[in-house]
């Protein structure tokens, strides 16, 4: 037994998943030995012992520290940058600015817009002006303060709601409209409203949310001859590689990006930043490694955000709960450059519920703020804030339970996509039904009405649901597995583990296929120099993209081992199968060979298996679905909201690692609580145009004290066998989409007051309650 516990294999006599013939797809896993269980992370020891080296932890011999001087004004022209004093400061080795020849290059904030790396026209507070490399970060920041800059301060606009008014300051010469209004329609919207028994119309707003991952953005860069090596805190080493190579005019082979550990990104670290390129230039100029990580304040100004959304939704419903029409418009902003200011905000309105008549309009404008970056389920929590509150209001108006109203309108196909392709699976019904049951939705609604009879402390329950537009993953992905002669395995993949447990899930897939214990699997990942191409970890696609390729690679190894065993045993491959650490004849247990005894393996020392991600099913859509339920207690005197309970029910296909799955659910709800209740970017639109709360003291994240005392994760474990060969769909984004709307609905249930703007903080709520609850 002892040997089993320490050996390569889980057990010596367990049947290993059937191996398909080469070229044939494997069957979906039946009963699994590893997948779906709770497995603590294979890199947990590194993370809790402090031995995990994050990019910002790295110290290299002779390393310098970089820092960036940023424009303090929302809109200004740089007339002159005088670095003469700063150049003489102690410890300063290099200063670069627009006047530096190698820094006279272009940067792309988006595909179609090129500006200089150090552009004289600063269109947002936090735009780059110069950068310093010095022996200590203290000396670097001293030097920054000694750089003299002459600014021509220009008028600014930082309120997107006024950006299209005549006379508004123009961010770009062509005006503040990023592109012509985007419209979508199907059916006949007027006819739809005419058919409705109830028509409601409301305006909603969600505030700008800033990612603020715990590890600031940045990198350590050095030049190894003509090879640029970058250790970046990133979600995707290959995208950083291509951004940097393109900006500096280098071949891809001369840019090696490594990102083994990283301290959170949430969409803000999918690409390289100007800071990456600046670090590379400082390293080049000094001939030394340079570490440059942004300050927390900088991360608020120039590393993206979830744009604010100003939304109007008009909806029609019949008495029986049939939706007849949805008319939606949104105005938003990606800041000073094109950055998807309204991207996907209307998607749920178009696609989540059955509705024949839909019209949406999106207006994206420029303002003088830092460009947006994708933020966990771009557009979706904003759209859900409007749609899911509207569904709640419609349900009340026609006297149908909110869960039942949603159940009545579940589509089996995607209405917003051309040709109305069906979803491979939709677990929305299960999420709603099983979620309501686990939460005791009906019972609790009744119980609460008793609780609320008297006082200013009122309880309410609320719910909301969603889908996520992506989450099916897809090609490309290449995985290489090496099986060593003792049966232990090395897994090579380009994808980053951004904290979701990617590495652990991949090891579990190998373990499931090969019966090799996860502890015996070593993972090499997220290094453009040594690991395979992967798209960045974002869009909730890493598990559905990479796990099928990992499974294919493992199967590829099994096929080779079977062939080698057949040669040794002088029999046909078709007569053999895996059993524990052996390959055995299906009909005769006495014909067998230990895997570690296979002569081909012993001779070569290693068997290499390659797996590719196959295509997604044609003409079908792979989306995850979710529903969330919560209970709140509202103090109508103080405006405080205490969340008592939260339940997240998710259909993300097959559950891979139950432990990290539940962790994602709780984490997504937590981030949604922040979006709903505490987070707001405050811009001083009257006096300076600057951001007023660029730190964690003034911009509030949820803390330990804001957590509900009880949280529950309810996986709807529906392997999506059509989607891919592991049956998994994405999870990281749907878990945060419905949270804010569910809370707002619960507050409405508690108080009868509909809160249409985030954040639901005491400042806003006490004012609203004092107005609305006065007369009651």
């Amino acid at each position: 037994m002892k040997q089993d516990e320490k050996g390569v294999y889980y057990a010596k006599d367990i049947f290993v998943t059937e191996t398909p013939e080469p070229g044939k797809d494997p069957k979906p896993w039946g009963k699994t030995a590893v997948i779906g269980k709770s497995q603590s992370r294979i890199d947990a020891y590194e993370r809790v012992s402090g031995t995990a080296v994050y990019p910002s932890d790295l110290s290299l011999p002779n390393m310098l520290y970089g820092a960036i001087l940023r424009c303090p004004h929302p809109h200004a022209i740089i007339k002159k940058v005088d670095t003469s004093r700063a150049n003489k400061m102690p410890g300063v080795l290099a200063i670069i600015s627009a006047a530096t020849s190698e820094a006279d290059i272009y940067w792309s904030y988006s595909k179609d817009v090129k500006t200089k790396l150090f552009d004289p026209h600063c269109r947002f507070e936090g735009e780059t002006i110069a950068a310093v490399a010095a022996q200590t970060p203290y000396q670097a920041s001293d030097a920054l303060r000694s750089i003299q800059v002459d600014y021509q301060i220009l008028p600014y606009i930082v309120d997107e709601q006024n950006a299209l008014e005549s006379g508004a300051t123009k961010v770009h010469e062509g005006g503040n409209l990023v592109k012509p209004e985007e419209t979508y329609f199907r059916g006949d919207i007027e006819k739809g409203f005419a058919q409705a028994d109830v028509v409601l119309e409301e305006s909603y707003r969600t505030e700008c949310q800033v990612h603020t991952p715990m590890e600031p953005h940045g990198c350590v860069a050095y030049w190894d001859g003509d090879l640029l090596v970058i250790h970046e805190s990133t979600q995707g080493v290959y995208s950083v590689q291509s951004n940097v190579a393109q900006t500096l005019g280098l071949p891809l082979s001369k840019v090696r990006v490594i990102g083994h550990y990283m301290g959170g990104g949430f969409g803000s670290k999918l690409v390289a930043g100007k800071y990456t390129v600046i670090t590379a230039l400082l390293a080049k100029r000094t001939g030394r490694p340079v570490k440059l990580f942004l300050t927390r304040e900088e991360t608020y100004l120039c590393t993206g955000n979830r744009p604010p959304a100003n939304m109007t939704l008009k909806a029609g419903v019949k008495k029986d709960g049939t939706l007849t029409a949805l008319d939606f418009s949104v105005t938003g902003t990606g800041g000073a450059y094109p950055a998807g200011g309204t991207a996907l905000v209307d998607w749920l309105i178009k696609d989540l519920y059955t509705c024949p008549n839909v019209s949406t309009k999106a207006t994206d404008v420029y303002i003088n703020t830092g460009p947006a970056r994708p933020f966990r389920a771009p557009g979706h929590p904003q759209g859900a804030w409007a749609l899911e509150q509207m569904m709640d209001a419609l349900a009340e108006a026609v006297g149908i339970d909110p869960v039942q109203l949603r159940l009545k309108n579940i589509p089996s196909y995607s209405q917003a996509r051309e040709g109305n392709p069906p979803y491979t699976t939709t677990g929305l019904k299960d999420c709603l039904e099983q979620g309501a049951q686990a939460f005791r939705w009906n019972e609790r609604k009744k119980e609460i009405e008793g609780f609320n009879s008297s006082k200013h402390l009122r309880r309410g329950v609320g719910m909301a649901s969603c889908l996520w537009i992506a989450g099916g993953g897809g090609p490309p992905s290449t995985i290489i597995l090496k099986l060593f002669s003792d049966g232990s395995v090395n897994l090579n993949m380009g994808a980053s583990d951004i904290g979701t447990g990617t590495k652990t899930v991949m090891a579990m897939v190998v373990a499931e296929e090969l019966n090799v214990r996860t502890e015996m699997i070593q993972i090499e990942h997220a290094d453009t120099g040594t690991t395979q191409y992967a798209t960045p970890s974002g869009g909730s696609k890493t598990v559905p993209t990479e796990t099928p390729a990992v499974r294919s690679a493992a199967i590829n190894i099994k096929q080779q081992l079977l062939q080698m065993a057949a040669d040794d045993l002088k029999t046909q491959v078709s007569t053999l199968h895996f059993n524990g650490d052996e390959i055995v004849a299906k009909n005769d247990n006495s014909i067998k060979i230990k895997i570690s005894e296979i002569s081909g393996l012993k001779k070569r020392g290693v068997v290499v298996g390659i797996g590719y991600r196959g295509p997604n099913p044609e003409g079908k859509v792979v989306n995850p679905f979710a529903a969330q339920f919560c209970e709140v207690e509202v103090n109508t005197k103080t405006g405080e909201v205490r969340i008592i309970d939260f339940l997240g029910a998710n259909d993300s296909g097959r559950v891979m690692d139950r432990l990290t799955y539940d962790n994602q659910v709780y984490g997504g709800i937590t981030m949604g609580i922040g979006f709903a209740m505490t987070e707001v970017r405050i811009l001083d639109s009257n006096d300076t145009g600057k951001m007023l709360n660029r730190n964690w003291h003034d911009y509030k994240l949820p803390t330990a004290l804001d957590m509900p005392p009880h949280m529950e994760s309810l996986p709807i474990d529906l392997p999506d066998t059509e989607a891919n060969i592991t049956g998994a769909k994405g999870l990281g984004e749907p878990v945060t989409i419905p949270t804010a709307a569910a809370i707002a609905n619960a507050v409405y249930h508690a108080t009868g007051v509909r809160i249409r703007k985030t954040p639901l903080n005491p400042t806003q709520l006490s004012m609203i309650f004092s107005e609305h609850l006065k007369e009651k």
Binding site: S49, M262, Q664, T703, M707
Partner: protein, 205 residues
């Protein structure tokens, strides 16, 4: 004894110290320790003048040359190679840099290296017994009390400090004890469970 003598060589007033530091000082707040020095003798320290100090970290004595303006966090990470304590905000908001100073969780970004003299500093590395994890570390591993793991060293130190002063905290005390440490991934639910698990492990060990 020698350490005590060394301490006496460092005198500075809070006001004069800050006035020579410029903007950077705005984020540095003096601790009680620093204030105590200020009352002794009014000698101005040059914030950039390298100064010999002795720090006791994880039971080991380090004699190093620091600039008086350097934070303990900077010295730990960039000079002593103790990179478990993380840089999150450098302004005392997130707790990623939490270490124990005389058994109390403190923000290393808000502590000057010079003022940490004469104290016992414990970092995450100091909770290890050789290769073996400490109880709180083991509990965080078992309960999956993290995602990206960047705030985790600080969370573990906060939990360890909490349990040193309160070996059996209530749920409310755990929340309060952990409320000085942000986790953007939102792993609080599992962090609470890990603290409870650590209580069990400590009891059992």
């Amino acid at each position: 004894m020698e350490e005590d003598n060394k301490n006496k060589h460092i005198h500075l007033t809070r006001r004069s110290f800050f006035s020579t530091m410029g903007m950077g000082a705005a984020t540095v707040v003096a601790s009680n320790n620093l204030a105590a020095w200020a009352s002794e003798e009014n000698k101005v320290m040059d914030p950039t003048e390298p100064t010999k100090i002795t720090l006791k970290i994880n039971g080991q004595t380090h004699r190093i040359l620091v600039e008086p303006r350097w934070s303990l966090l900077f010295v730990l990470r960039e000079h002593l190679g103790l990179s478990a304590a993380k840089t999150g905000c450098e302004r005392g908001e997130c707790g990623a840099c939490t270490v124990l100073i005389d058994n109390v969780p403190r923000y290393a970004c808000m502590t000057l290296a010079v003022e940490a003299q004469g104290t016992e500093i414990v970092t995450l590395e100091g909770l290890m017994k050789g290769e073996e994890l400490g109880h709180v570390q083991q509990a965080f591993l078992e309960q999956d009390a993290f995602q990206c793991g960047y705030c985790t060293p600080g969370q573990i130190m906060a939990a360890d400090g909490l349990l040193r002063s309160n070996p059996k905290p209530t749920d409310g005390e755990i929340r309060k004890g952990m409320s000085g440490n942000l986790c953007r991934c939102g792993a609080y639910h599992n962090i609470f469970q890990a603290v409870n698990r650590a209580v069990e492990l400590k009891g059992g060990g």
